[in-house]
């Protein structure tokens, strides 16, 4: 580099400062585009949709008349499917994470499990739909039912649950485990009495994030053949005759909120756009609430934990 003389360097410094200031504007601008565009879009959604949401909208069946159409079967379906997904996906994911963090030795099998978890996290959700269509719907003959949808989403969220649970478990210092072993606890006693309770908040965060992803998933459920127009509810889980509890709803046809929204969006004509926006507001509201809760929990945890 040549030694810059003073009259030369002053404009160069000014130029660099200018470039720096320019970049700051561009950078802040890009960040604003990323967040601001979405804020704008959500504003549009809210503007179109929020007026539609009332008791009647929540408690009505879909209809050919936009003004009377509601999302009762959709949110009931979403709730039941989330139930199946949570019951299947969470224990499986947490158990797998415990195995990988606490038990697994460095073998090719462990390596294989780790690779598949990473890979599954990146598989497009529609591929899970094809898996469910081929395996659950046809080979196992479970039909286009709530059970199949729940199982599909359980497999879909498995990598999320595993990864976040592992992170939570890994944050527990090894001394806790050593102290438990030192008192004669077995491995499972150590895990169930100490590691799991101490990491519960972190695991919960992961579970909320995973379920919030599942609740918005559309593509895999469309692929297994869910209908967009359902004018009935699944059978009630409780009956008046003994044994008072029924699992018929598991094999019932269903629709879910994102599919209901999809059905309304793809209908030509202005009428149903408002319904779609209303369903969208509810969906976004739900996922943002769940995610916000998870982020808040994680934030609180980071502040409190003092290992």
């Amino acid at each position: 580099m040549s030694t810059p003389s003073l009259p030369h360097s002053t404009p160069s410094i000014a130029r660099r400062k200018f470039a720096e200031a320019l970049f700051k504007i561009v950078g802040l601008g890009s960040l604003t585009v990323a967040v601001g565009t979405l804020a704008l879009l959500f504003g549009a959604l809210l503007y179109q949709g929020v007026g539609q949401i009332d008791w009647q909208f929540l408690m009505s069946y879909p209809s050919r008349h936009a003004a009377q159409a509601g999302i009762l079967p959709a949110w009931v379906g979403s709730t039941l499917i989330m139930l199946v997904t949570a019951v299947v996906g969470i224990p499986l994911g947490v158990a797998a994470a415990i195995y990988l963090e606490e038990y697994a030795r460095k073998t090719w099998m462990t390596e294989l499990i780790e690779v598949t978890v990473t890979n599954l996290a990146g598989v497009p959700s529609i591929i899970y739909g094809l898996l469910a269509l081929g395996l659950f719907v046809y080979i196992l003959g479970l039909g286009e039912s709530i059970l199949v949808a729940g199982l599909t989403l359980a497999l879909l969220i498995l990598p999320v649950v595993i990864v976040t649970t592992r992170e939570a478990i890994r944050a527990i210092p090894v001394e806790i485990r050593e102290a438990a072993y030192g008192l004669g606890a077995t491995k499972w006693q150590t895990v169930s009495h100490h590691v799991l309770p101490y990491s519960a908040a972190g695991i919960l965060t992961g579970i909320i994030l995973a379920l919030s992803r599942a609740i918005g998933e559309t593509a895999p459920i469309v692929t297994i053949g869910a209908l967009t127009f359902i004018a009935f509810l699944p059978p009630a889980p409780f009956t008046t005759q003994p044994p008072y509890i029924s699992f018929d709803w598991l094999l019932s046809p269903f629709t879910i909120m994102p599919i209901q929204m999809f059905g309304w969006v793809s209908r030509p004509g202005e009428d149903f756009a408002g319904n779609a926006a209303a369903a969208g507001v509810l969906l976004v509201g739900m996922t943002l609430t769940m995610n916000g809760l998870a982020i808040y929990l994680r934030y609180r945890m980071r502040k409190q934990v003092s290992w």
């Binding site: 700051k24 038990y103 990146g122 081929g134």
Partner: protein
């Protein structure tokens, strides 16, 4: 665990007082329980392997039926995709083109904006702004894709039609832009991680030489984080390629071999959705065709994911 050998030793003696016998039995029971639990946990962990194997098996077995009817050569060279017509053609190229065009538009939005935003966030912004932006980006990444589809069809495309009045209702530009906005938080987050991983000493060295922040960012941090940035892009591509609802809603349903984003065209994912919404009998060629299309999609995303993860590992190992 080595306690098992102790248990075996204690189990051997022939005569023993009841209390000791009982303790040994209890220990054996406990060890049995431990083994059962470990076995159960292992089986749970095996689910991910089983899922992966089943995905591959289902896609392959249904595709084999498809490729018995359709020669591979036709599949990759025919320029028409009309499996449901009386005179069917099975060329994947139109669907592939639709997928690539929408993804490319998305990447043209997400990569430049995302990279600049990530540089700003990592190198320029105050830590307070960063603390707010990171969770916000995470929130944006969690919005259901069907909502983005709504935006593409009913907000972005009408806005674009003001600029190009000839733009059809279904086109690849609108959904492409929306895909870009959708994967931007993901790209920003991963790129920012990559740049934060660059050790501070490199920046300090650069500042000591009299470089400005911008020069340091462009000439030191970005080159040092290249593999991490590329990994972020590649994982972003994989997301864009697999994106379904946005294109199914807003890009149109007709396979159309074109590279012009202003035209409507179906993507691989949109085709799968379209067929799944209809009523195709199990085992028909139309039914099998979605698995063949899915196989192509899965192979593409597998390749991108593996590439992305290899690159990510590399940037982690350097320092």
């Amino acid at each position: 665990m080595d306690t098992s050998s102790v248990a075996e030793q204690e189990a051997i003696p022939i005569s023993k007082p009841d209390a000791i016998e009982e303790a040994a039995a209890r220990r054996r029971a406990r060890q049995r329980r431990e083994r059962v639990i470990e076995g159960g946990l292992f089986l749970a962990a095996l689910t991910s392997v089983a899922t992966t194997v089943t995905i591959i098996a289902v896609l392959l077995s249904e595709s084999i039926g498809f490729f018995k009817t359709v020669p591979l050569l036709d599949f990759f060279t025919d320029t028409l995709w009309t499996p449901l017509f009386a005179n069917p053609h099975y060329g994947i190229l139109p669907l592939l083109a639709g997928t690539l065009v929408t993804s490319a538009v998305g990447l043209l939005v997400a990569i430049p904006l995302g990279t600049v935003a990530a540089i700003y966030l990592s190198e320029f912004s105050s830590s307070r702004l960063r603390e707010i932006m990171k969770p916000t980006l995470e929130l944006l990444g969690a919005v259901p894709t069907v909502v983005y589809g709504y935006f593409a069809l009913l907000v972005v495309t009408p806005a674009l039609q003001r600029v190009w009045p000839d733009l059809p209702v279904f086109n690849m530009l609108g959904p492409g832009i929306v895909i870009g906005i959708m994967i931007m938080p993901f790209v920003i987050s991963l790129s920012e991680d990559a740049m934060r991983a660059v050790p501070m000493v490199l920046r300090e060295g650069s500042y000591a030489m009299g470089a400005t922040r911008l020069q340091t960012a462009w000439r030191v941090v970005v080159p040092a984080a290249t593999s991490g940035l590329v990994a972020a892009y590649v994982l972003g591509i994989s997301r864009a390629v697999g994106e379904t609802m946005v294109v199914a809603i807003a890009a149109g349903q007709n396979p159309n071999l074109t590279w012009n984003p202003l035209e409507p065209a179906a993507t691989i994912t949109a085709y799968i959705v379209q067929v799944a919404l209809g009523d195709l009998p199990h085992g028909s060629i139309g039914y099998q065709s979605i698995f063949a299309a899915g196989l192509v999609l899965a192979l593409m995303t597998f390749a991108f994911n593996i590439l992305g993860h290899v690159l990510r590992k590399r940037f982690r190992e350097v320092y």
